[in-house]
Symmetry: C2
Amino acid sequence: MAAPPGLWRLGLSRLAAALGLLLSAGAVPVMAQSPAPTLPPPDSVHLDRLGYMSTFPPEGAQRVDQSNAYKYPQLRWVVQHLRELQPTRNIRRGSAPASALPADPKPLGALQFEDAKGQKISLEAWAQSTYTDALLVLHRGRVVYERYDNQMQPSSPHLLFSVTKSFTGLMAAQLAHEGRLDPQALVTRYVPELAGSAWGDMKVREVMDMTGAVRFRENYTDPSSEIFGYAWASGLLPRPAGYQGAGNVYDFLKTLPKDGEHGQAFTYRTVHSEVLGWIVSRVTGQHWADLMSQQLWQKMGMEEDAYVMVDSVGTPLQGAGLNATARDLARVGEMLRLGGRFNGQKIFDAAVIEDTARGGDRERFKAGGLQAARPGYSYRNQWWVLHNADGAYEAAGVHGQFIHINPAAQMVVIKLSSHPVAGAAFTHATTLKAWAALAQALR
Amino acid sequence: MAAPPGLWRLGLSRLAAALGLLLSAGAVPVMAQSPAPTLPPPDSVHLDRLGYMSTFPPEGAQRVDQSNAYKYPQLRWVVQHLRELQPTRNIRRGSAPASALPADPKPLGALQFEDAKGQKISLEAWAQSTYTDALLVLHRGRVVYERYDNQMQPSSPHLLFSVTKSFTGLMAAQLAHEGRLDPQALVTRYVPELAGSAWGDMKVREVMDMTGAVRFRENYTDPSSEIFGYAWASGLLPRPAGYQGAGNVYDFLKTLPKDGEHGQAFTYRTVHSEVLGWIVSRVTGQHWADLMSQQLWQKMGMEEDAYVMVDSVGTPLQGAGLNATARDLARVGEMLRLGGRFNGQKIFDAAVIEDTARGGDRERFKAGGLQAARPGYSYRNQWWVLHNADGAYEAAGVHGQFIHINPAAQMVVIKLSSHPVAGAAFTHATTLKAWAALAQALR
């Protein structure tokens, strides 16, 4: 794929920064070997201090627009305001009252634990040092800790990046459970348009668990990397002058070739989630946002509407584009902990949650090279499974987004962040310590 | 203003169609002299039949995107889906229960009246023939008639075009009433950046009532017309290659020169509303969307969040970009009918509503040349005042958007439409007959 003329105008360093937002766990091994980056003091990049978009009009450095939206610290503003920069589709909560989310506050901010280097740190200091916008802990369905910072409000939708994938994965797993989608079928049974691509001889299960082999390079210094094509096709980045590439995400997916053998190794690729979402819409005949509204947001009594970024022809970014509040994500976590029921309704069948929490193939996960940041994990139905004694599993997105469920401790943790580093390599070892400390404190 | 290079690529006919959406009442006199256009049968342009954006992906003619969003009949889809094409900012309803909107249905669909040509027509047939998406009639605060069509739902926000202005006008009038904004002051007291423009020696009152003289041509066959600059600056139209013009609405406003003497004639110009909104944000220090949320949507117990389109630096389109549901607009109309109180709260002071409903200078209105479509009207605080025996006044937007308040008949009518013709010249005489028939039936 040749670089379109005009690419260089955009500047590769800017593109590299811009695409950091899409940085998947796939980039983690490289980063794990790099020295820890120098990070700005969190206070220095607080939105109160930065003053972005707070005057009429915002002037100079206070302006966040398409030219700098994915730079840092501008990204701190973007993750709470994506719809002000991009076309989006609503995920309506409906008109019913919000479901109960009872509070039983505990002084968990003072909870001490050892970080990955063995140094004592409080939960509050950890939240602060990892640029946390919202942190919410549920124990037995009660909110025992709820913390907002950086202008985030209980009503603010936050960009969830790859947490989005986990919703797409559950939808597909539910359809499989109902017999409406066959995981052993070829992708092309549902999306014949993909016949000439990597997905032409791939099974649906290999998409669900990301063991399909597709060429999708995320080399941010090489404009022929497929990640650039994704960003241009989806509208995440303005297209360079003279752009002749795919006009939308679906057309882009058709261009991606096979790269190796399917089913051998877990290889984390956002494009698998886009294909999975396409399959879900073909099977149901419904838009992803409408499924999210009908099957989750309306039934669960969410507090706020959510939304998803869409491309130029309305395709939702099913791998990275969901925005929702911490409190509504807490309801999602609790629904999963309860085996798929919430607010008096069945959201997913218990067997779907069990299949997800049981995890995927750990050997194939090892072969994917992500052991360093996520030791012992597997990936199933687009969820990260810890395979620890508590049976924990989680949805995760770059820059520090999490829905973490610990069945044994009857605990759900939501963490929404705007960390300067996209990948989890520098932070995840301590994240695991925080999960463990919380679980132990609540037992 | 020279046409930027590359303009011709876009094609003038497309631009002309595109900008029809912005067509203000200013174009009405010309149209009133034109023969009535040939209109497509409403059934032939029903969204169920057109099938826009209903498959994954939408193919060929079913696709609505930036290239055809303001063509017809694509516009029928756009007015219910603007946020899927443009950046927008939320107007949050808050977490309180929706306020009461009791129903007392009456068979008004069968109501017969004489149209402008003296032919008998039923309310239902009138709604159908004017491409009505939602029609809602309140009498003494009760919903006596509620009709949706063309895929519109009670929960669907609809693009309101220039109805938006009337919200901006009421905000400004309230600030004036509170002494926080001086209508006799120069605009530059609040927005010094406009010193070099038409607004440099204009008073705030002349902005509120649109009697300021600003050069803003809406000649759709002349790309040097200022309407093109507005569309490119705001993001309503994609910018031509090599575009060097204003990057946002505020920068565009600064470029508009004076054209005549202020205070002489009513001259309907969307850019006055953008300036008025700028003043409101300068006085309050708040974003228009946040004011709308805090002062109206949260206090009034609206059913759904509303939203407003924003430009590349977050500027709301304060003259044309609001989207809300028919039921929430009915609450607005009822609040005004009740003198500014609703849901147990003061929304506007009664004196503000009285000042608005009393109307503006009818001689200056006549001088503006809009008598043909709106005989006897005046314009005050960005509301159209009918000066009829019932004391009626209304907010109005192109393609058939209305909040109509008839105090004597204790009636509010909301009409949201996707009429092929932007201006009111062909339709307004019959619209007035419909208002009168409804008022008489309900008395």
